[in-house]
Subunit: 277 residues, 2 copies
């Protein structure tokens, strides 16, 4: 089992020590529109960790009927605020707000979700930028357990902007051979079977069954859905019988994502305030 | 055989007709530093096609000892020039000029090579932007011959910013299952064999032999190298005995790349001058 909480705790204590050496307190601002309970729980967990590590954080909660113009004014004022190091728009937004163009309004230097096109482009160009937290967390988990990535066949299921595509960039940068599968993939089981490292980020409960998985594979479960009131991953728990390593759900990739958001905020702060690591 | 010249001619006549309906003449400026003969031949072939299609073009030829500061001044003045629609820095640059940061100085709206991080990020975010010509040309070839992409297994060998990575984005957008292999890939032959559509963009003569290729595959050869004075592709000509479709080298993907640069210039011009098609 790849214990996300253990990895996250390790990162958190390293970050806490790093923050103590800074001459300023990094500040992270969350923008939350509407009152989706899952979103608000998720923001709370990020805020709790931010506080434990020694960051300032703030949540800007806006009513679900907030207009695009109002939201863009908030973003611009946070861009201008020299004390704000990270801006995070909690997704999903209500359907009348198109997220792509709003994310592109965030100053790329404060875009701790790494979703601004400029950061996406820097990532794919092999240059420095802020990287989405969930895929960065996957790398952190493997590195924590000293599982080599170089030369391994990595199969990523899902091609979202948040997970699948940036994960492809990061694993490619680490010299893996990367395949990206998705809803239009034919014979998914044959593709999955090639994976030495399998990443599932779909949100379909128990999509991945033991028969599909190569013996000794490493399986990272990112997707989740609700089933009879429980949170269930993309990966069937019995995959543990075939795989050498597996992240549990919950308690696997999720806690590491939260830690990487805080790490991004500290990175962004150092970079923007000119104390680059 | 997938005849690039035929595809290119089709695109060129469509573009010529499109340019005639415009109220302005799109202008493309090439920046060439140093006197690499291959580069200068390549710029000439692009200029010739630009002229035939009805574009204005100009070549700014700079001595190989040009400094970064001088080059950046040229880029900025072309950015400011309202008559210039496309700016193309011919690569490779002399070794003292770091291309990544110079490409990022081009106004993204004039970046007809699609290498500015902003355009790279828009591509990977599924939004409108200028797309690198070579991978766009690969899609154009398959579309010309009405070869379906959706759901096919595409293997791309090479992970350059110019070809491999943007090709992955474009084929993913067209619903292919995409794998990216490279110099650190283990058992390349097994990976290549899974390809229904194989793209080789490495520059290693005859890297791909008939034994590696799946029967009935479609093979697009982008890489080239010089061998005994001849231009030789990544793909051994005998692959034609196994594959259903193959691009020749030369005369395959190259001519289509040139046409796509011109198409990008027209797109950029319409977009920037507010006559979006």
């Amino acid at each position: 089992m790849l214990r996300g909480k253990e990895v996250s705790a390790g990162i958190a204590s390293r970050l806490k020590a790093a923050v103590e050496t800074l001459r300023f307190v990094p500040k992270l601002v969350f923008i939350r529109v509407g009152d989706d309970p899952a979103s608000s729980a998720y923001v709370r967990s990020k805020q709790r960790l931010a506080e434990r590590i020694g960051l300032l954080s703030e949540v800007l909660t806006l009513p679900s009927e907030t207009s695009r113009e109002q939201l863009s004014r908030y973003i611009h004022s946070l861009n201008e605020d020299a004390e704000v190091d990270g801006i995070l728009i909690q997704l999903p937004l209500p359907s009348h707000l198109e997220s792509g163009s709003l994310l592109a309004m965030i100053d790329p230097a404060k875009d701790v979700d790494g979703l601004h096109p400029m950061n996406v482009g820097l990532l794919w160009s092999g240059r420095w930028g802020l990287v989405p937290a969930t895929p960065a967390g996957l790398i952190a988990i493997l590195d924590h357990y000293q599982l080599p990535i170089e030369g391994r066949r990595v199969v990523i299921i899902g091609r979202s902007n948040l997970v699948g595509k940036p994960a492809a960039a990061l694993f490619l940068r680490r010299d893996a051979t990367v395949s990206i599968a998705h809803s239009r993939t034919q014979r998914l089981d044959a593709v999955v079977r090639q994976a030495e490292i399998l990443i599932s980020a779909v949100g379909k409960s128990h999509l991945i069954t033991p028969e599909m998985v190569q013996p000794h594979a490493i399986v990272l479960d990112v997707g989740f859905s609700r089933k009879e009131g429980h949170i269930v991953g993309d990966v069937h728990p019995r995959v543990a019988e075939v795989a050498d390593y597996l992240t549990p759900m919950p308690g696997g990739t999720g806690p590491v994502t939260v830690a990487m958001v805080i790490q991004n905020t500290i990175e962004a702060a150092k970079h923007r305030r000119g104390e680059r690591g």
